[in-house]
């Protein structure tokens, strides 16, 4: 019993010790906090009081340099130039009438204008400043700097402004900047961007905005009682954005845009082995620098009211019926499904009866008994009506989808349209009417409800050229950080491996070669001396004209009624380096309007470039994605 009490007593006194220790620790720590407070408030009190007076420590942000954009050879396309803005600091209690009096003659604005801006102009929330004038001239800048003493509260902010070195060239791909709006701010996609700052609004400026943007820097500055900067307390340098190297070839891009001058349409140039976009042009185009300089309402109206929509990138947003270009897919589908062979002749008499309707071939009296190669090279409609009948709409749609149609290509640009491939299910859903067998005929020659974009066409042509691989279209070669170190290197990517045998692909390619180089080929105007070009023409009816006889000469028809002209091709035939898709809206006949464009493009391109040095064995065994040095 005694032992228990003794043990309990010991336990308790041991316990008391712990409490004492705990209390001591608490007092000590609290005590040291008090010492710290004394240190700040008493010892350094006057120093801090001084700093707090008139809000003397401020934050001034430094904008980072936006990343630059280059073409594949490293030619600079988009850069930055400095722009100087005049701002006033609203935290200062300053007699603004005096200041605006001084500023008025320098800036060329009336005192009332300046005062109005100071009163009601939009504020930068973080720095509590208002911008009076942006992008001032060197003269204005030097005048303000020399008169600094008389202009308290006036700050010069240096802002980098975008410089689009080749206005109108690749405008849709590169894109442009604009001020961030409310919806974008609230969306949460732009975490480090404040109101009043600029973000990419279209093109690569938008989709790769996170790389290009860089990070802000800033300074902690001490200002005196009048708001003049006394010293910089601390500084953090901004980090410039990453640089983007596009796959575009500037000289090719120039050539493409030149060819589209005065027309409405688009051209896409893609490298079959890698899926790189060598050039992509859309017409009409626009000058991005007008967005940088600050657009007047008039120039904005001019752009938006242009019926040919210059801001639209027709290469990915334009959806057109493919016309005869679709026959390439029909041919391969037919071969694969074994409803035709290269040797099977089908009869074309110029007329084809189906149901209670008569369908025509473009050649009035027909092609006679015709085999695949000629049917494709001469674009016989009736041959393909029959192929279409044998396959049926849903089978055709299946193959079309394999080639990447009816889906976006997921290229690194905004607003890409997917196109459309009709199926019987789709028609039922959309129109509540079942698919009519007769519609398959127009489907087979690329009319009906089908819609494709020029990019999709270039891509499927490339898939035929590279022996059966549908590639992902790539716009970016590599991304480097601001010190030149590569942070991302783009690799070619195969989206779909087509099921067609090499023999079939080879046969179709041969037919395409014949279309350009053969006697009766529809694409003769694309011939280039010393180069073997292979391709397919297409002519899309915009207005239904019942009788072929009634079709007038192109020049006699109103513009809107003229057919769209397609031509898609690749070259060189033996070792395809480029695949093109050209569409000229209301250009008339594919063979006469679009094919010559291809000829001129290839001529110019191959004069200046060597082929890509792709490894290609005799039996067309090819490894896509081999790095090229083009």
């Amino acid at each position: 019993m005694e032992r228990l009490i003794y043990a309990a007593k010991e336990e308790i006194s041991n316990l008391d010790l712990r409490f004492l220790l705990a209390a001591l620790i608490i007092v000590l720590v609290i005590g040291s906090l008090l010492v710290r407070l004394w240190f700040l408030q008493i010892y350094h009190g006057t120093y801090y009081a001084d700093l707090s007076l008139n809000n003397r420590v401020k934050l001034r942000y430094i904008s980072p340099l936006r990343g630059k954009i280059y073409d594949r050879q490293g030619t600079l396309l988009v850069s930055n130039r400095p722009s100087f803005d005049v701002c006033v600091d609203l935290d200062e209690r300053i007699d603004w009438t005096k200041v605006s009096g001084k500023l008025s003659p320098i800036l060329g604005m009336t005192e009332d204008e300046l005062l109005a801006r100071i009163d009601t102009g939009e504020r930068d929330q973080l720095q509590n400043t208002v911008r009076l004038k942006s992008d001032i001239s060197w003269l204005e800048l030097s005048q303000i700097e020399t008169n600094r003493y008389d202009l308290p509260g006036v700050i010069i902010q240096v802002e980098p402004k975008r410089d689009y070195i080749y206005p109108g060239l690749a405008s849709h791909i590169v894109g442009f900047l604009g001020e961030i709006n409310k919806n974008e701010l609230m969306s949460g996609d732009y975490k480090n961007v404040q109101s009043g700052e600029y973000i990419g609004k279209s093109g690569v400026e938008k989709t790769l905005g996170d790389y290009l943007r860089g990070s802000k820097g800033g300074r902690q500055v001490e200002v005196d009682a009048s708001g003049r900067e006394v010293r910089t307390i601390a500084r953090q340098n901004p980090i410039a954005g990453d640089d983007i190297y596009l796959t575009l070839d500037l000289s090719l891009q120039e050539k493409l845009q030149e060819e589209l001058e005065g027309q409405v349409g688009a051209i896409v140039a893609i490298r079959p082995s890698t899926g790189e976009i060598l050039a992509m042009a859309s017409s009409p185009t626009f000058d991005q620098n007008t967005f940088v300089r600050g657009m007047t309402p008039e120039s904005w109206k001019e752009i938006t009211s242009n019926p040919y929509k210059p801001l639209q990138n027709k290469a990915i947003q334009g959806q057109y019926p493919p016309g005869s270009v679709f026959k390439v897919i029909m041919a391969l589908a037919g071969l694969q499904e074994n409803v035709i062979t290269e040797q099977t002749p089908l009869k074309c008499t110029g007329q084809h009866r189906f149901g209670n309707r008569v369908y025509h071939c473009w050649k009035k009296w027909g092609h006679g008994a015709i085999k695949l190669e000629d049917a494709l090279a001469q674009s016989c409609d009736i041959y393909f009506y029959q192929v279409g009948q044998m396959l049926g709409v849903d089978k055709i749609a299946e193959y079309a989808r394999m080639f990447g149609l009816s889906q976006p290509t997921a290229i690194l640009l905004d607003h890409e349209m997917p196109g459309l491939i009709p199926t019987s299910a789709w028609k039922l859903k959309r129109f509540n009417v079942p698919w009519q067998k007769g519609e398959t005929l127009s489907l087979a020659i690329g009319q009906s409800f089908t819609l494709v974009t020029p990019l999709q066409v270039a891509r499927f042509m490339a898939a035929v050229a590279n022996n059966g691989y549908v590639m992902k279209p790539r716009l970016v070669r590599k991304i480097t950080d601001n010190e030149g170190r590569t942070i991302r290197l783009m690799e070619p990517e195969i989206v779909t491996t087509l099921p067609f045998s090499k023999t079939h692909l080879s046969a179709v390619r041969k037919a395409l070669k014949e279309a350009v180089n053969g006697e009766r080929g529809t694409g003769k105007k694309a011939q280039v001396k010393g180069l073997t070009v292979a391709g397919k023409t297409g002519t899309v009816q915009v207005v239904a004209i019942k009788d072929a006889m009634n079709r007038r000469k192109l020049e006699d028809m109103p513009y809107e009624h003229r057919d769209h002209a397609w031509f898609t091709c690749f070259a060189p035939y033996e070792d395809p380096d480029i695949a093109l898709a050209i569409i000229i809206e209301h250009g008339g006949h594919g063979g006469s309007t679009a094919a010559p464009v291809a000829q001129r493009i290839f001529k110019s391109y191959f004069e200046h470039h060597e082929t890509s040095g792709e490894v290609l064995t005799r039996d067309w065994k090819r490894e896509p994605g081999k790095k090229n040095n083009g």
Binding site: I26, L33, Y48
Partner: protein
């Protein structure tokens, strides 16, 4: 729930006075801190939470705290469940998921977890004699018990509160006593896991810690906040600038001036004198809490009281240390003085527990 004369006789009036004093100071300070910024809304909300908290405190006094012994693990399970719920369903506000909202009211489970962890730890310890320190096996169990909420809170991400509960738990364990071997193991494990936890942290949290070590490296973010806070505190000098006169917070230089940096406003307006008084008030509560722990007859009550004291101790130290530039910015609120409904409630209930234990010190369950 029955009324014993002894409860009234042993009612802890001193503690009540301390509570009222600190609440009074806090509300007055908050009134000034929010007068120009978001307007009265914040102040009224806090006042409402204080009233609700105080009401809950009074109600809780009717219940014998020993009941918590039974429900300790249940509460722990509920806390962990709530923490999981927050991570899965909570809205993301300013990049973190800390709250559960029910209509207009949002509630931070991590705040309540502090208290529940204290209760659970007390429950685990209370059967052992004081003289027996914690051994390795018990330590492992404790690690799991503490580790779960720690990680869940860390994931929110809320570095401050997760560290806080670790410190509270460590204080309680150290008080119970620990052999040197488990202690060595613990320290070793800590050193081992720190780089792991470091990877868990978000960029801005890592930044805050490196900023603390090198404030000149982040002049735009946390470095700026700390500088402004020191200016605010220091400029209060001896007697402060006076009520409603703090220029730093009113003119938007001090961000978060009603939450983490509420003390800066107080120091600026009431100076050294004001800061001293507040610190002394907190000190009084802590020492009084220790006395309550000592005088409590059963170990559970003592342990809970010790836990509550350490909860206040660490909150006060970390927040004021942060505000004066001694510690990195980790977002730990100062009890009652910082705005935050859940914080008010959990601190209020904690003090309620102290009162509860104090009232019943002559009763045996």
């Amino acid at each position: 729930m029955w009324f014993d004369r002894r409860l009234i006789k042993n009612f802890d009036w001193i503690l009540l006075a301390l509570i009222i004093a600190i609440i009074g100071v806090a509300l007055v300070n908050l009134y000034s801190a929010t007068s120009s910024f978001e307007g009265r809304g914040v102040f009224y909300r806090q006042a409402l939470w204080v009233c609700i908290g105080f009401g809950l405190l009074i109600i809780s006094l009717f219940f014998n705290y020993h009941k918590l012994e039974k429900y300790a693990f249940l509460l722990y399970g509920a806390a962990v469940a709530l923490l999981l719920l927050v991570l899965l369903l909570g809205p993301t506000i300013s990049g973190s998921r800390r709250w559960i909202t029910l209509g207009q009211i949002s509630f931070q489970p991590s705040e309540v977890t502090k208290l529940i962890l204290i209760i659970v730890l007390a429950r685990v310890f209370f059967r052992r004699p004081w003289s027996e320190p914690v051994n390795l096996w018990e330590l492992l169990v404790l690690l799991i018990l503490i580790g779960a909420p720690f990680l869940l809170i860390l994931k929110e991400p809320d570095l401050g509160t997760s560290l806080l509960i670790t410190f509270i738990a460590a204080s309680m364990i150290l008080f119970v006593g620990i052999r040197w071997r488990p202690l060595a193991f613990m320290t070793g494990a800590l050193l081992f896991f720190t780089p792991l936890v470091w990877n868990f942290l978000k960029e801005y949290q890592k930044q805050r810690i490196t900023t603390f070590l090198h404030p000149d490296r982040d002049p735009l973010g946390a470095g700026y906040h700390i500088l402004q806070s020191k200016i605010a505190v220091g400029s209060g000098q001896f007697a402060g600038k006076g009520f409603m006169a703090s220029t730093q917070s009113h003119l938007h230089f001090l961000p978060e001036h009603h939450t983490d940096f509420a003390f800066s406003v107080l120091a600026e307006e009431w100076g050294f004198i004001g800061s001293l008084i507040v610190l002394l008030l907190f000190l009084a509560i802590m020492v009084w809490g220790l006395l309550i722990a000592r005088s409590s007859r059963d170990k559970f009550g003592s342990m809970v009281a010790i836990g509550v004291v350490s909860m206040f101790f660490w909150q006060v130290c970390i927040n004021i240390g942060m505000v004066t530039g001694l510690l990195p910015v980790v977002g730990v609120p100062l009890p009652f003085i910082s705005y935050g409904g859940s914080s008010v409630i959990s601190n209020m209930l904690a003090l309620g527990l102290l009162m509860n234990i104090s009232m019943r010190r002559f009763m045996f369950s």
